[in-house]
């Protein structure tokens, strides 16, 4: 199969260079010259037998002086081999690449991110401005030659105009690049800013909403109010140290993210993890997922004005926090998975506590349904707004419960089972309608599935070591490594480029939340403000995960 794909790609683009394939991870890596990249992208997306419609991520790299991007493509129709495409720029001074944002909608934000980090400008991109950093930021932080001291703290007012204008590069018929700048919102538009400090943007996201009456015309998400530069920091940290930063990406799926990073290191080191650790990790992942979905449910209720429901969700979440704290000593950040296993054995009370929790949670879920799901006000609000169809979901890369509500089977636990997921029976909860109500409902149903998974695992935790022996200093072998896990918001991808050192050369986290926010614009067009907030709640994004 990988051979077929190779031939197909070569016929489509003879100038593509094969970079060797990971036989084990079943992935094809190619290098494409910039001129052919867009053309190839169109064919990869549209050819009947290929249909690489899901662009998982675009990763900017500064590898030994060369700037470029790595795109990771999947096909949702066929069980295709994933395709990894490298595209390099010409120089460092004025690097430019062709944009593929017209092929995959999700590329829009990814390319802006690459521009922000590496200064690579994308030709034909509709809106080329910085994504995370202030418009007056000097330098491109993820380049290897970035001067860390070049941007002191500025407290003066940023001019509104800075956020108002954007650039566009267009290729004219002569193949020359034409620069133009344009205004994001018309002067006459009534633009209201929701965020950064806003109770319902789920973190410091700024949504600039152009309104007509109460109807949303267009929104422009503005990220970066919590951009901490984790990816750059990781380049200085050793692999065990990185783990505590992965937890702080999407703090609601902290354990899952950390698990993902551990999996990547273990895979790269070809390390055998004790069965006991695998089971424990899986249980912790699912508990985290329940906690996250509970918080998601709670804050969505809060967004719709049902504060009592919010408090109920938080109340039941505390039960999980107790389970975490007893075994790991941490509530939100468990610091539990380590490379090779888990950091300490489960507490003797652990199993009993979990088993007490399962029936309790099921009972509470029934209460939630009576209190909120069946409430006609809530139901009408949720069913009447925020429809996202499957094609759009895939184009924007909306994974996780939100994507599944649109009918896209994207559960990484099913597609590429990791940890103990291949050993348990569970359903991938999906729906076909893709409205806010379905996203809401899928999330609550997933809690049930997670409870079922935990129930199957908790009594069968095998005896044995909880941690494999590891070397004193962990050095990943040279190469590129990909790993993805299903966190509470969707496909959480990790890319590590190792040069054989104890810290990664480049690390990139694929944030599922970013896709969720990017899909907000097509969903909310024409809805009311109240619905904008409600839809935001139903997508359940976590901003620090986007901003990293």
């Amino acid at each position: 199969m990988i051979e077929n794909l190779k031939q197909r790609v070569l016929t489509l683009c003879p100038s593509a260079k094969m970079m060797g394939e990971y036989e084990e991870s079943k992935m094809l890596t190619i290098e494409v010259p910039n001129e052919n990249w867009h053309e190839l992208a169109v064919s990869l997306r549209n050819e009947k037998d290929l249909q690489f419609d899901y662009l998982q991520d675009i990763i900017g790299v500064d590898d030994e002086g060369r700037l470029g991007i790595i795109c990771r493509l999947f096909s949702t129709t066929y069980a295709q081999t994933p395709l990894v495409v490298h595209v390099w720029t010409d120089g460092r001074e004025c690097p430019e690449l062709l944009s593929v944002s017209d092929v995959w909608n999700s590329a829009n934000l990814y390319e802006r991110e690459v521009y922000d980090y590496f200064g690579i400008r994308f030709v034909n991109h509709p809106d080329m401005r910085r994504l995370f950093l202030r418009p007056d930021w000097v330098g491109y932080p993820l380049r290897k030659d970035y001067d860390m001291e070049s941007n002191p703290l500025v407290l003066k007012n940023e001019p509104v105009a800075d956020f108002e204008r954007s650039e566009r590069l267009e290729l004219d018929s002569n193949g020359r690049i034409k620069e133009s700048s344009f205004q994001l919102f018309d002067d006459k538009e009534y633009v209201v800013s929701f965020g950064p400090q806003h109770p319902s943007t789920h973190g410091v996201l700024q949504l600039r909403v152009s309104l007509k009456g109460e109807t949303v015309q267009r929104i422009d998400p503005n990220f970066g109010y919590i951009h901490r530069g984790i990816e750059k920091m990781c380049e200085e940290y050793t692999y065990p140290q990185i783990l505590h930063l992965t937890e702080r990406l999407d703090y609601l799926s902290a354990a899952i993210n950390r698990h993902g990073m551990c999996l990547l290191c273990e895979k790269a080191l070809q390390m055998e993890v004790p069965e006991r650790a695998v089971y424990i990790r899986t249980i912790f992942d699912e508990l985290t997922r329940i906690a996250s979905h509970l918080l998601g449910w709670a804050s969505m209720c809060n967004d719709m004005g049902a504060i009592t429901a919010f408090i109920y969700g938080m109340r039941d979440r505390e039960k999980i926090m107790d389970i975490f704290e007893e075994t790991t000593g941490g509530r939100l950040f468990t610091s539990y998975s380590v490379i090779g296993g888990v950091s300490q054995d489960i507490h003797p009370n652990f199993q009993k506590r979990v088993k007490d929790f399962l029936p309790y949670m099921r009972k509470m879920l029934r209460e939630y349904h009576t209190l909120f799901t069946n409430n006609p006000i809530a139901r009408q609000r949720m069913t009447s707004a925020g429809h996202l169809n499957k094609a759009t979901a895939i184009a924007y890369g909306v994974t996780g419960p939100s994507g599944r509500a649109s009918g896209w089977h994207n559960d990484v636990r099913k597609i590429e089972p990791y940890a103990a997921y291949s050993k348990v029976n569970f359903n991938e909860v999906t729906d076909t309608v893709g409205g806010s109500f379905e996203r809401y409902y899928v999330r609550l149903d997933e809690i049930l599935e997670s409870l079922a998974i935990i129930e199957q695992l908790v009594d069968n935790i095998p005896e044995g070591d909880y941690k494999a022996k590891t070397k004193a200093i962990i050095k990943l072998p040279e190469g590129e490594f990909f790993e993805r896990v299903e966190n509470a918001r969707g496909d959480f991808g990790i890319y590590v480029n190792s040069h054989g050192d104890k810290s990664p050369y480049r690390i990139k986290f694929r944030s599922p939340s970013m896709a969720l926010v990017s899909a907000l614009d097509p969903i909310v067009k024409g809805e009311k403000i109240a619905d904008l907030i409600m839809i935001g709640g139903s997508l359940d994004y976590v901003i620090p995960c986007i901003d990293r």
Binding site: Q197, G203, V204, E318, R331, F333, I543
Partner: protein, 208 residues
């Protein structure tokens, strides 16, 4: 001068941390000079203010979740009368800086603080807000919000558990009770902690 009038229910005065600071604070107050009649009224007002501190809903990242837990049923800071979280800074009394503040966010935080009505207080919740926390080596994180706005209480923890937040709130209540209500001048207590100097110096040497 001993600390008067600042008993908090259920925690004896001497079991509180950092009483030294408050002693110095009183010293400063005394230097500023307060007369007795005003002081009685001032005590009443301070009692009111210290028992009714409405937080601004301001959460940037992980600590905000623990802040929500503090507001929720288990810890319930409503017991202290702090549960009236206001979304508008005009009506809020305290900012819980719960989470990392990055350079893009700093002007926003400053503006929010500026837009609050006097008297106003700031609690730096968690490592990030106090010192930059896990992101000390980052290029975009503000290393401690006291670079941006004056901070009254620091709650360490990453994130601090709800009980620790409650403790921090009581610390703030203690400080408010000491305040001289009728002077708008912010009193700054310059405390010298020798250990901190040693640590900083050592860090610099090691870095060099």
């Amino acid at each position: 001068m001993e600390i008067k009038n600042i008993d908090i229910k259920n925690i004896p005065l001497e079991e509180f941390k950092d009483n030294e600071y408050l002693e110095q604070y009183i010293e400063e107050l005394r230097k500023a000079g307060t007369n007795v009649v005003v002081s009685k009224l001032s005590d009443l007002l301070n009692w009111g203010h210290s028992n009714s501190v409405w937080p601004l809903t301001f959460g940037t990242s992980c600590c905000a979740i623990e802040f929500m837990c503090t507001a929720a049923a288990r810890a319930d800071f409503a017991r202290f009368g702090w549960e009236v979280t206001r979304n508008s800074p005009r009506q809020a009394d305290v900012i819980f800086v719960s989470g990392t503040i990055v350079k893009k966010m700093a002007p926003v935080l400053k503006r929010l603080y500026d837009q609050m009505a006097e008297p106003k207080y700031v609690i730096a919740m968690g490592g990030c807000a106090s010192t930059g926390g896990p992101f000390q080596k980052s290029y975009s994180v503000v290393k401690g919000v006291n670079d941006v706005i004056p901070v009254d209480v620091y709650i360490p923890g990453c994130p601090p558990r709800p009980d620790a937040v409650l403790y921090g709130m009581m610390q703030l209540a203690r400080k408010i009770k000491l305040e001289n209500y009728f002077s708008t001048k912010r009193l700054e207590v310059k405390e010298i902690v020798p250990l901190a100097d040693i640590a900083r110096k050592a860090k610099k040497e090691k870095g060099a």
